[in-house]
């Protein structure tokens, strides 16, 4: 149980000179990127934490007003770089909703597979580094070896390992082939034993449990009141998952469960993430079995996607169409409307609020980043814990600073 600082009689003293102030970050291995905390300590107990953010602020939303819907995808995948494709899928989900485009069934399945691979990608990193920060090095290596294989899969689909910029308005950059599907099957076959191994290494490890159980408690009501979503909210018993509640892509066709826990502490968040990985594997397997044939992009006659390359190189109509889509002074008509659309990213609800002004770029491209909302919770849940618990709680919140600051 956390130590109750407020019970100490000394706390009532007018001058609190015995309190220590500790600067944590912005460069610290456990912050993973750059964020800064000013901690007020009583001995080793944290009695106040003041987050300072903005070290990675680079004006993404301002850039979003000057780049068109396809160009801005290169910026959004730099937000949460732990799961870049999840951002891209979410961005184009919002754009397609604004434009009123229904993507092809093959594209839906393809994007679903990639979104779930990204969930594995994110949770592997989170579980691995939570272990690493608490001294369990082996699980981290196992997890990162699996992430490496996901990079390979993403590379064979898009040609890029990290910042893929793979999705486009109305489809994706290239279609995939059967070799890619087999590659994912191979990966999943190797993934299951590693997942079980990580379970054996961490889940009933005495040190790991002692460091996580009862630490960083967040109640379900607080989750809702503070806007917390995703695995964090589900670990506190809030049964909400946009894949079920506001189905998008191929999720309505698929059979999977929402993973939730009741404890609301760091250990519950770890368990939820571990179990969510298994659900993601189930989703990917179903998608691979049922991936429909057919075109991956919407019809080029809509003048939103560029036509296929053979028609661009061999016919004048194709070339003109390609030109119309690519040139900045051409483009297509977009509605003068505003839309909020959200998807379930690995970290929680990732939403975009887009204001369209009739041009092919957004008038305002607001991101609702889950990390930003989740980090605001940190001062509340760290109070009364030990200094060493700061890394455990930071790890379980899975703060990605590039998404936090944008």
């Amino acid at each position: 149980m956390p130590f109750e600082v407020s019970d100490l009689a000394e706390m009532d003293a007018p001058e609190k000179e015995y309190l220590w102030t500790l600067n944590f970050g912005p460069q610290h291995p456990a912050t993973h990127t750059t964020l800064r905390l000013i901690l007020t300590l009583d001995g080793e107990t944290v009695i106040n934490a003041l987050p300072h953010i903005g070290y990675l602020h680079s004006g993404f939303e301002k850039l979003g007003e000057h780049l068109d819907f396809n160009q801005y995808v290169t910026i959004v995948d730099r937000m949460n770089y732990i799961s870049p494709l999840a951002n891209e899928i979410s961005w184009h989900h919002a754009v397609e909703k604004l434009l009123g485009i229904e993507i092809t069934p093959r594209c839906k399945y393809l994007r679903t597979i990639l979104a779930e691979l990204m969930r594995l990608h994110d949770h592997l990193l989170n579980v691995g580094t939570t272990g690493l920060d608490l001294g369990a090095f082996t699980a981290f290596l196992y997890a990162f070896y699996q992430r490496e294989k996901i990079y390979d899969i993403v590379e064979s689909a898009s040609g890029q390992r990290f910042h893929t910029s793979y999705t486009r308005v109305g489809g994706v950059m290239f279609d995939v082939n059967n070799a890619w599907v087999d590659k994912i099957r191979d990966f999943l076959k190797g993934f299951m034993p590693v997942h079980a191994e990580v379970h054996r290494l961490l889940t009933r490890n005495r040190i790991f449990i002692d460091r996580l159980k009862g630490v960083g408690y967040l109640s379900g009501e607080d989750c809702i009141n503070m806007g917390v979503t995703g695995p964090l909210a589900r670990a506190s018993g809030v049964l909400r998952d946009l894949r079920k509640d506001e189905p998008y892509l191929a999720y309505p066709d698929l059979d999977f469960k929402i993973v939730a826990a009741k404890d609301g502490d760091c250990y519950a968040r770890y368990l939820v993430r571990m179990q969510e990985m298994l659900e993601s594997v189930k989703i990917i397997e179903q998608c691979l079995d049922n991936i429909p044939e057919g075109p991956v992009n919407i019809d080029a006659q809509t003048h939103i996607v560029p036509p296929a390359k053979p028609s661009v190189y061999r016919s004048i109509e194709g070339l003109i169409q390609h030109f119309e889509v690519m040139m900045p002074n051409r483009g297509y008509e977009t509605p003068r409307e505003e839309i909020y659309a959200a998807t379930e990213s690995p970290n929680g609800e990732l939403g975009y609020y887009i204001v369209g002004d009739g041009s092919p770029r957004s008038y305002r491209a607001r991101t609702r980043p889950p990390s930003y909302i989740h980090f605001a919770v940190f001062p509340q849940i760290i109070k009364g814990h030990q200094l060493s618990d700061v890394v455990a709680v930071l790890g379980s919140l899975n703060i990605i600073a590039a998404e936090l600051d944008r």
């Binding site: 903005g54 000057h66 009141n225 505003e338 980090f375 605001a376």
Partner: protein, 164 residues
């Protein structure tokens, strides 16, 4: 009773503008009635989560009459219903009441809107800049703030290795 009906029953109908686009249900409300409407939505219609709070600068938007629009995306966790509530504020001194007393998630979201647009929220417990440094004087997401150019960076003192 639907949310729209509940709102219409309580507040004069000509002040509320309802609209729909795709699956988004929206309502525009006057800034003066913002607080009573939001607290009624929370206590009577079950909107227990403020999922998103942001602002839009309509300076260059064709046909817009007000300068800033502030958008609240509310979510009812029981029924899954979403409501996008919008209100408008104008220069000089764009200001709104803070909704921190209703939803704690407003804390950082309102700070960001203040930081980027300069809209102040009366009653916010700690309204400081959050992403930009404290010495910064402009509001970068306003439309009259340029994308590139000389300025801000050059106003900060250069610290060399010798004086650090």
């Amino acid at each position: 009773m639907s949310t729209a009906e509940a709102l219409k029953a309580k507040f004069p109908e000509d002040e509320l503008v309802f609209s729909e686009f795709r699956d988004n249900h929206r309502v525009a409300v006057p800034a003066a009635k913002l607080m009573p409407i939001l607290s009624m939505l929370k206590s009577e219609c079950g909107f227990d989560m403020l999922a998103e709070l942001t602002a839009v600068d309509y300076l260059e938007y064709e046909g817009a009459t007000d300068r800033f629009g502030v958008v609240y995306v509310l979510l009812n966790n029981t029924s899954g219903e979403r409501l996008i509530l919008k209100t408008f504020v104008n220069d000089p001194n764009p200001s709104l009441p803070s909704v921190y007393s209703l939803w704690k998630s407003a804390d950082w979201l309102e700070r960001e809107v203040y930081d980027m647009f300069g809209i102040t929220f009366a009653g916010h417990p700690d309204l400081r800049r959050i992403l930009m440094p404290d010495e910064f004087t402009a509001f970068p997401l306003r439309k009259d703030y340029p994308l590139k150019g000389r300025g801000e960076r050059h106003n900060f003192p250069i610290v060399t290795r010798a004086d650090s």
